[in-house]
Symmetry: C2
Subunit: 208 residues, 2 copies
């Protein structure tokens, strides 16, 4: 039996090969760094040759970009899934940040998205990817909180970027073995600190 060996359309071939390449590359980029992963290794894992790679992608960076974009979308999906719109603004933000930290625990994600991504694609490109996927819900959550008067009115882009940066660093620290509770407590404190008036019971988390 030959699995789908008959006459495959060109579009199917392309789709399948691209998917194979991206899948193999994703696995390797999660295990090792971008620099430590060679194209011969990738194509071997994908079961094709380097010719196929360079036919479908301009270069190694382009393949990496495709992988990163997909991975960022996956993270964003997990986060969006976990923070329903029904929650009040502050709780939605905290739920979202918890979901983000949980999603970033998948092995290799932090290095790929937070370390190699900016280094290989540049921070501008990473910002674009982030803004088109993950950061959008964060920014919308912040805008909603501001509208609900539960957050100080601040430049939205800057606030989004800096909170996202804090989330990112927290994810890195937690993967490096730091206390997730500590980082969560500080993140919550940062969020709550942005409330114009102190919330009824904004008891600071106990320092470890």
């Amino acid at each position: 039996m030959q699995i789908g060996s008959g006459r495959r359309s060109n579009r199917d071939r392309t789709e399948a090969t691209r998917a194979d390449l991206i899948r193999a590359a994703r696995t390797l980029f999660r295990e090792k760094s971008y620099a430590d992963t060679g194209t011969p290794e990738i194509v071997a894992a994908a079961g094709v040759t380097r010719g196929a790679l360079y036919h479908h992608f301009a270069d190694k960076q382009a393949l990496f970009a495709a992988v990163v974009e997909q991975e960022a979308a996956m993270v964003a999906a997990e986060v969006d899934h976990a923070s329903p719109v029904s929650l009040p603004a502050r709780e939605a933000l905290i739920a979202g940040s918890d979901a983000y930290l949980a999603a970033m625990r998948a092995p290799g994600r932090t290095r790929m998205l937070l370390i190699d991504g900016p280094a290989v694609l540049g921070r501008a490109a990473m910002d674009e990817i982030d803004n088109s996927h993950g950061n959008r819900s964060l920014r919308e959550g912040l805008v909603a909180a501001m509208r609900a008067q539960s957050m100080a009115r601040l430049p939205v882009e800057a606030l989004t970027a800096l909170l996202a940066a804090a989330f990112d660093r927290a994810a890195l620290a937690i993967e490096a073995g730091a206390s997730a509770e500590d980082y969560r407590a500080v993140l919550v404190a940062l969020i709550d600190g942005l409330s114009p008036a102190p919330l009824p019971s904004t008891r600071p988390a106990p320092s470890r």
Copy 2:
């Protein structure tokens, strides 16, 4: 005339060559990325051969580490110089963050310290470098603020790391062309938000 051509001691030779290599590498690493800078180019700029490089440094990474360490120390020195201990805790923190953002405007510093550094040396190594130079004053400032009751008591390591991450991202955004005022305002808001009670007149400092 031969500049110091006579009999140079071995220690002098080593010192001079290492300095030449680090200087040339620093210039190039500030202009281009780590990946785009080859060792042939570095040694040519330094006026030596690759043999000298690999005699004094284990590999390209080790040279990069030396450059990064020096650059991080320079930044830390500029920051420490600009935030005298006489200021009250909050003002010292803000002065320090301003100084940090100013120091990071030196061309190429953000890429080298915030992008390539973590990617090439790993975030663990970068944390070690940061903690031994720049982050120390930040952490001390935070501890002082907590002691002065002008800041919520939070896990110090986590708070230091997350604020540093926000500073870093602000530096990157500003270099990318974002509004320095916006980012400064958000940073100040984040710092002020950590005060347990709203200060009497926490009027945001006029953005420069």
